[in-house]
Symmetry: C2
Subunit: 271 residues, 2 copies
């Protein structure tokens, strides 16, 4: 079996609260392209800047039994793609900043953002699910969401569990992540596909948020295969040779996983 897959991302500009329209626009933006794996931004259907907990609750959905997950499953069935997309999850009265992974055969799983950024804590609880690698058949896919990038243990945990590709829905407002994801790929020899959004939200008088775009795919050598603009909606696709991520050797003597010195690390994570 070939180890080469086609991955894509959507860089969207959602209209806050226009959930059905944002779903439709995402699908329209992708059009008739084909891919094995498609990654959409964090909170792709709602937008980012909630004004109140009530508003966040109102725009959140159960996963998998909500309309956005159903929409994504229908899209995956019709297109044959595996889709990873960020949306606000409601479980009882508790909200999570989550991502769902679905495929042609339906629901695969979900992840809840583990490291909540700034004022999001007013709406979302920190994720309570383990970092999980989902087997999509053609690839093992790890998921992390936006600010999870800042903590090296996130990508490390996914890579050590065998992730070939890290699907990374994001709503980036700080400038550092696109460059730092190169380090994440270099240190783990994994692919990463970051799907970010563009545009500005100012739904609160004291806070204007400009999203930086620059969605990208990076390979295990730290090469940026494709990087999107800072300000336009875009759909991009790129071929990934997964064998590169399955070989942790970087020369005749070094294997980035075999060379780890767990005997010396004091980082508090469980083995």
């Amino acid at each position: 079996m070939s180890s080469i897959i086609q991955a894509g991302f959507l860089q969207t500009h959602p209209e806050f609260g226009a959930v059905a329209a944002n779903r439709t626009q995402a699908k329209f933006l992708w059009g008739e392209r084909t891919a094995d794996l498609l990654v959409l931004p964090e909170l792709f259907n709602t937008g980012y800047q909630f004004r109140s907990l009530a508003e966040a609750q109102n725009l959140s959905e159960p996963i998998p039994d909500g309309p956005t997950t159903e929409f994504l499953i229908d899209w995956a069935r019709a297109s044959g793609m595996v889709i990873v997309a960020g949306l606000a999850e409601r479980e009882g009265d508790t909200l999570y900043n989550s991502a769902v992974i679905v495929g042609p055969r339906g629901y695969i799983g979900k992840f809840r953002k583990a490291h909540i950024f700034d004022t999001e804590i007013q709406f979302f609880q920190p994720g309570n699910l383990p970092f999980t690698v989902f087997d999509a058949g053609f690839a093992k896919i790890g998921i992390m969401i936006c600010f999870d990038w800042r903590f090296p243990e996130t990508a490390r945990t996914l890579a050590l569990q065998g992730a070939d590709v890290i699907a990374h829905p994001a709503n980036l407002v700080l400038p550092d992540c696109p460059q730092a994801m190169i380090t994440r790929c270099l240190e783990n020899r994994v692919f990463a596909v970051t799907a970010d959004r563009v545009g500005t939200e100012q739904r609160l008088p004291e806070e204007s948020l400009k999203f930086i775009g620059q969605s990208q795919a990076v390979d295990p050598d730290g090469t940026v295969l494709v990087r999107a603009s800072e300000d336009r909606e875009e759909a991009q696709g790129v071929a990934l040779d997964l064998d590169k991520a399955r070989n942790k050797k970087i020369n005749g003597h070094n294997d980035l996983f075999a060379d780890r010195r767990e005997d010396l690390y004091r980082i508090g994570g469980k083995g």
Copy 2:
């Protein structure tokens, strides 16, 4: 007490095997500058590309009871600086790619490179000392050597132990490290001072090594405070406000250490 210190690095071009001359040239290059902390490259006194184990043994020294450590202690005493420098260490018949830290009051400690790069394994054993933060009074200083950068657990372990500054002697031949050190600083909110060398060594017919220079100091926000050239000997100094490294908050809600999700990390390091 002010939290602002002066840190410096030397970017050298050693002549292979000319140990005494390389020591003298390093001191000459620094001249009468002043600093609290000065970082020198990896293997600053010997050069990098050993032809044989016998040659490496011959150029290695005990630490602290060797002439290069003695030279550095004399220099530290005369100048009032704390100096971190890389040199080949011999303990019995075993060699380590080590760094020593000395100050005005003499020997402080040493570190042995934990992650050995490529053909170095023909000469050096992987380090068997814990990642250690040395208290220099004015700052807590962690040490890592060159390729240790590639493993996020290295800087993480040092930062979690309270390092304000990571002193990073290096002999870089691959292009990735200067940019990746920005991520190391961002994810840990520490300062890092990388002292690299320049020049080319081809002492083996099959291998020409070009060192990339670009020694640098990076702050906890990921700002490159100073970066040296790719090809010239340089001495640089920069002020570091250590309070920036002692505050892990990045906004009103996030503290990069308090927000760590040790309950979710599966990275095999001991707590």
